[in-house]
């Protein structure tokens, strides 16, 4: 029930902070999403969306961290013991 899906903001409309909406692309499916909780979100950003609301802007730098961790694990594998 806490499912949240990442999508890319294609456009933003509205000035009222409570009803500012974004057109968000979820792998080809487009939906209008309320941006009240992510006032910093802008066109091109990826947001996590839950029941029609963006709840977080995805940090692309942090998103790569899992794979950096994996590379470190790989180096560990190859290191002589």
């Amino acid at each position: 029930m806490c499912l949240a899906v990442p999508g890319k903001i294609l456009s933003v409309a509205g000035d009222d902070p409570l009803s500012r909406v974004g057109r968000v692309d979820f792998g080809g499916v487009l939906r209008q999403i309320n941006l009240a909780f992510t006032p910093e979100a802008d066109v091109g950003d990826y947001v996590l969306v839950h029941v029609g609301f963006a709840i977080s802007v995805i940090d692309a730098g942090q998103a790569a961290r899992v794979f950096e961790q994996l590379r470190e694990l790989g180096d560990l594998d190859e290191a002589p013991r």
Binding site: C2, G27, F37, H50, I55, V66, F67
Partner: protein, 369 residues
Amino acid sequence: MKFRDEYRDSSAARRFADAIARTVTRPWTLMEVCGGQTHAIVRYGIDELLPSGLTLVHGPGCPVCVTPAEYVDKAIEIALRPDVILCSFGDMLRVPGSQGDLLAAKSQGAQVRIVYSPLDALDVARRHPDREVVFFAVGFETTAPANAMACYRARQEALRNFSMLACHVLVPPAMRTLLDAPSRRIDGFLAAGHVCTIMGYREYEPISAEYRVPIVVTGFEPLDILEGVLLCVKQLEAGRAGVENQYSRAVRPEGNRHAQNLIAEVFRIVPRRWRGIGDIAGSGLALAESYNDYDAERRFGCVRTQSERISECISGLVLRGERKPPDCPAFGTRCTPEHPLGVTMVSTEGACAAYHRFRGATVCKGAAR
């Protein structure tokens, strides 16, 4: 889909699993408190990638499952009124109350509508000014801001025919209750990533320190869960207990302040009964007094409360992580998603439903560690 598919890579998952196997020297039991994570663990067989002795148990991570029967009864009582349209997330329709469920009420003529967002319920209220429109608001912290927004906007627009039956639950008090149980066998937690997207993770720090348990804020994809497990067992093996954030692409330490402010404006913290667990102090959200006019319980004077039906269902033990679904003698035989005995088989995010869907009814008893 970006920020999703890359976290499902099977060779990367295998490397995390290998690292976990190299790290673990003793048996450990970790609990996730999120139905979405339970679903992913069973769907992708993540538990089967782990070394024997490292056990994942599934906690009360499904808000639909822990909503007490008395609230389903209240929703049914309200929905059966001829002037009411009751709006609900779809998952709630088959959750049993003490007598029946909302789907049965619908078949008796009650106006019950499934909505995707609480804002859809507001639209129904605007379109039907002659009807009372009630939104059945359940969920964890993740859903609370959206539901709060519906009430906030209703008051702003003076939408008098809208009200809310609020039965929200909060995760950290439930974690304390599980840790206080004499039968406790939880060595570490994977904290629910999207709950923390809203609330941050400062409130987990005292829990981790007091009970000496590692708590790792974890995402929902297979690589997220495996990395969360790795971080947790690294702490356990080193004798450390702290809060770490695996899901940093979405979770900031302080959470989402805009969402928290709206929760504080619209809701107040109350004691709440959790199905299968019991009463937990400070574990629920009800509407704040300033929103009394939008409180469906007050508007319709719900009073009926009845005890839960007694059956052979062990969903209470499953919700507390003390049993796994295949341990239940009724699993897959007298209890199936078509004919569920308990909530954990009803809700698609319930642990029993996940095992039934992805492991089959004939899952070997005891094979699920």
